[in-house]
Amino acid sequence: MDTKQEVILSVRDLEVKFNLRGKVLHAIRGVSLDLYKGESLAIVGESGSGKSVFVKTFMGLLDSNGYVSGGSIEYDGKNLAQYTQDKQWRNIRGGQIAMVLQDPMTSLNPLKTVGKQICEALKLHRNMPKKQMKDAAIEILRDVGIPEPEKRFSQYPHEFSGGMRQRVVIAIAVACNPKILICDEPTTALDVTIQAQILHLLKELKEKYDLTTIYITHDLGVVANVADRIAVMYAGDIVEIGTCEEVFYNPQHPYTWALLSSLPQLGVKGQELFSIKGTPPNLFYHVEGDAFAPRNPQALNIDFKERPPYFEVSPTHKARTWLLDPRAPKVEPPESIRNIRNLKPLLNPDFVKTAAGGASDE
């Protein structure tokens, strides 16, 4: 990963809050992130860690009770965190940043033909006459690997299978001609054989349309296959970020260790699979110290008192844990994840084609 690359999107100290039944939920707690042009970043973390909320702020798609309460999102010289009106967002949404949602069964309008839904995107972001629009839509359908696109153009979503629908959703996303493509768990709702095809397609399109992609997932198998860099999120914060190799082979944060240990591929036959004990902190309350400390059996005293800063492991790799402080005692990562290197298939590009990759969500 070349760090001198151009930064396309820069997030600084982002805070997101939600008003819920009179209480305030602090969903994102001061996250900073630089997204480089042309890279493929994966954001991993368990359910509720805030990974979806984090990327939704880039497009102003937070639920109506959520809001950015601090920090900035720089894109193209503008601060997206200050956008309040629909009018401002409309150019960003689709045209600059597009999104692929998790469940293709529900993310298409059931009463409009697939062609119409793609044309709607084309009309919004590309100036072209009506006649050309249809041809362009058919071309995009062909690009995303839908057979007989001319016929499929005038069919309704219910006439497509799950995998095909996800291809249509992807077609809509690229039809807008975006710079950044956010894939929010693009394969979670699909079965394994289709998963591999969709990931393959996304990689292809990334090259063809010159996209910068962000994957949100809790499936480390997906991550290993598509990502240049990995950001590990926990309780509304990025706890570790680095290149794919660095995070897999040299993880520093205890949460990353725990996450990797729960890879079912690391399980030993006859032994129970590893799972992280406890539950994530309640974000309605202020989190003291390291958010992962209560679930970390090797937590230090300071972990409960003060929030750790980022410690740099390499220019591309940093982690938020006191273990990297020079004064900290030496704590070894668990035995099992040191074997991850032997787990060749995990980092083999063909991995997802052969095995049902995936870390447990727990």
Partner: protein, 341 residues
């Protein structure tokens, strides 16, 4: 689709035949006094003679057959008591137009008021969710004022709509019909009695008839729209960059209207058939009171004919509803699912 409709119509004919037979048989159980306006004054011989001439002493299947074949020739028989010896078709032809005109006006009014009310309520409840979310950017005082006023109207709109719907649904319609008549005629000086040529007298009955439907349309539209707004495809449309109004009208409203379409023909047809209570309140010479009237006076042939008409209308409303629904929603394939229906 055509094949389905043909099958559906055939099957409705069977339903209709069963309904006719039941009504016909039940009415044969009625005392024969019903067939004579002046039963007491007749001698047994005269009674026998006229029963024979009416064909009422024929075997039941023959009578049934005569009735059915009459229906298919457009002959519903003649009234016995209500208006002696006048063909029933003629009576209905005189009465129906007023009811139909009143009904169409009231349905028009309820669509005109009910749809905006429902849409407005859905939008207002959406706006209310944003309440209490602080804006990061400093707003100008003017903008603040506008936002506050907007929020105020949204809240008022939703509250008034909710109260209206609850009142209309909870209070028996007879009560508010009476209120409308009492205060309406007083306040606006409108004559109580309906007069076809005085358009002012149309207002109160039309409004009375519309209230129920307004509440009904608004309630369901609000509910279906709130359902649709939270669906994933709305999120995707937003992510595409579709404007809020585009999402509301091209996606949410259109999709929310589909489940309502199925019930529209029914609610329209039944409104058009007239309301017993409203018509009697304003002495409107319509279809509304007719059925009750002829049942009370034991006008057997009239009862028979009217029940037949009502059954036909119910069946037509159901079929129309299903067809409209399948046109509006491509996922519904009538032909394939028909076995399950």
């Amino acid at each position: 689709m055509l094949k389905y409709i043909a099958k559906r119509l055939l099957r409705s004919l069977v339903t209709l035949a069963i309904v006719i037979t039941i009504i016909f048989s039940l009415l044969r159980l009625m005392p024969i006094e019903g067939y004579f306006p002046n039963y007491d004054k007749l001698s047994p011989g005269q009674i026998q003679a006229s029963l024979t001439s009416m064909g009422l002493l024929d075997p039941l299947p023959v009578q049934l057959w005569n009735f059915i074949s009459g229906v298919f020739q457009g002959d519903l028989g003649t009234s016995l008591v209500y208006r002696v010896n006048v063909p029933i078709t003629q009576i209905i032809a005189e009465k129906a137009p007023v009811s139909i005109e009143l009904g169409l006006l009231s349905v028009g009014l309820s669509l005109l008021v009910g749809i905006p009310l429902g849409v407005g309520m859905a939008l207002a409840s959406l706006a209310r969710q944003k309440k209490g979310v602080p804006a990061l950017v400093k707003r100008t005082p003017l903008r603040r004022c506008m936002d506050a006023v907007g929020m105020f109207f949204a809240t008022i709109w939703e509250k008034i709509g909710t109260i209206f719907i609850v009142v209309i649904q909870a209070v028996p319609s007879a009560v508010y019909y009476l209120f409308i008549q009492l205060y309406g005629t007083d306040l606006f000086g409108i004559p109580t009695l309906f007069n076809k040529n005085n358009y002012a007298t149309w207002i109160l009955p039309v409004v009375s008839l519309a209230l129920g439907n307004i509440a009904y349309y608004a309630m369901w539209l609000r509910r279906y729209m709130t359902d649709e707004i939270n669906k994933d495809y709305v999120q995707l449309a937003k992510a595409k960059g579709v404007s809020s109004s585009g999402i509301m009208f091209r996606h949410v409203f259109r999709n929310a209207f589909v489940p309502m379409i199925q019930y529209l023909p029914g609610s329209i047809l039944f409104t058009v058939m007239g309301s017993i209570y409203v018509e009697s309140l304003y002495s409107i010479p319509g279809m509304g009171g007719l059925l009750v009237n002829v049942i009370q006076r034991q006008d057997n042939t009239m009862v028979q004919a009217l029940v037949l008409i009502y059954s036909v209308i119910s069946i037509v409303a159901l079929i129309l509803g299903d067809i409209l629904m399948s046109i509006a929603d491509p996922r519904i394939k009538l032909g394939k699912k028909e076995e399950a229906r």
